[in-house]
Amino acid sequence: MAGSEIKISFISKQKRGADLKGKVIVITSGKGGVGKTTTTASLGAAIASLGKTVAVVDMDIGLRNLDVVMGLENRIVYNVVDLAHGRCQVKQAAIRDRRIEGLFLIPASQSDNKNALNTDDMARLTKKLRDEFDYILIDCPAGIEQGFENSVTGADEAIVVCTPEVSAVRDADRIIGLLYARSITPKLIVNRIVPYMVVNGDMLSHKDVEDVLSVELIGLVEMDERVIAATNTGSYIIDDKTSKAGQAYTRIARRILGDPSVPIKEPVYDQKGIWGKITSKFGIRK
């Protein structure tokens, strides 16, 4: 075979070029219980439903939740700590959602604590994930300690979730400051808005929150009982097509994908809504 050569070419499965790597978005808030996990699951499902590949990553190490919210809790073998420490491949740690094509969950570890990972681990992990998925959504734990540091490492963008309450807004402000310090300009979701309370002057409006925080809004989500029902069964609120929260998350997903024709819909006081019904029953409707 002198004079000839054998040429081996590796053809990548990946359609995407080096310049078209995945985008990492961290979902954070400071305060717990404001809807980070709900938002991560819903946006993950919505973005995947729009045809992208998505990995949602539970960074609440020691207190995992995203798996039950997504109804994938009985399929966990490896977790994010295993993956970050090289004990498994992305393919092994990423649980494929059988209901929505292109959606994957990388669960948190339940037995470690937040110091099981450091920012170097996270830089490596996000780099790896960018090669495999179009979008990587990081579900950040509450607080501003190691778990937060880890979650924002490697993030290109951030979504801050906030409820219209004094404590949540104050914590959001703190988080926004920390994100700016890392050169990330966050966008804001105001979650759990109760329109009749806003109308009655008993709840901060999204405008108030936006005013105080002065950051760009990416979506508004109403308080919606069906979110809780969806969580009960481990299904996605975006698949409940008539639910307001589901519709809101789908709109946010489209905006994340860069569709400028999707306006932010302001929640309106709906007399037929559950919260309206409750108030009229108690006779406090104005």
Binding site: E165, N200, G201
Partner: protein, 90 residues
């Protein structure tokens, strides 16, 4: 809360809890950043009023403290109607 600095900002208690929440937040964020307290702001306000009073007649009852926010900057703004300039200082 009613006696302190806030009492003066909030006036007669006609505000909705929503308005109160917003004002509290705006001030809480200022306090957090400057690491100042109610008391310090109150005595600052008093000093400012004293200085202005040296030169102008002002309506002390309609002093208004507000927060203006632009981009990532918060400004504490004291508004006071000036009734007239004083001819002589002191």
């Amino acid at each position: 809360m009613k006696n302190g600095f806030f009492g003066k900002i909030f006036g007669t208690g006609k505000e909705s809890t929503r308005d109160i929440a917003k004002k509290r937040l705006q001030f809480a964020l200022i306090y957090d950043k400057l690491e100042v307290s109610d008391e310090i702001l109150e005595s600052l306000q008093k000093d400012i009023v004293d200085v202005i009073s040296k030169y102008f007649e002002i309506d002390k009852s309609s002093l208004k403290l507000d927060i203006e926010r632009q981009d990532d900057l918060s400004a504490l703004v004291l508004n006071t109607p000036i009734l007239s300039a004083k001819r002589k200082f002191g």
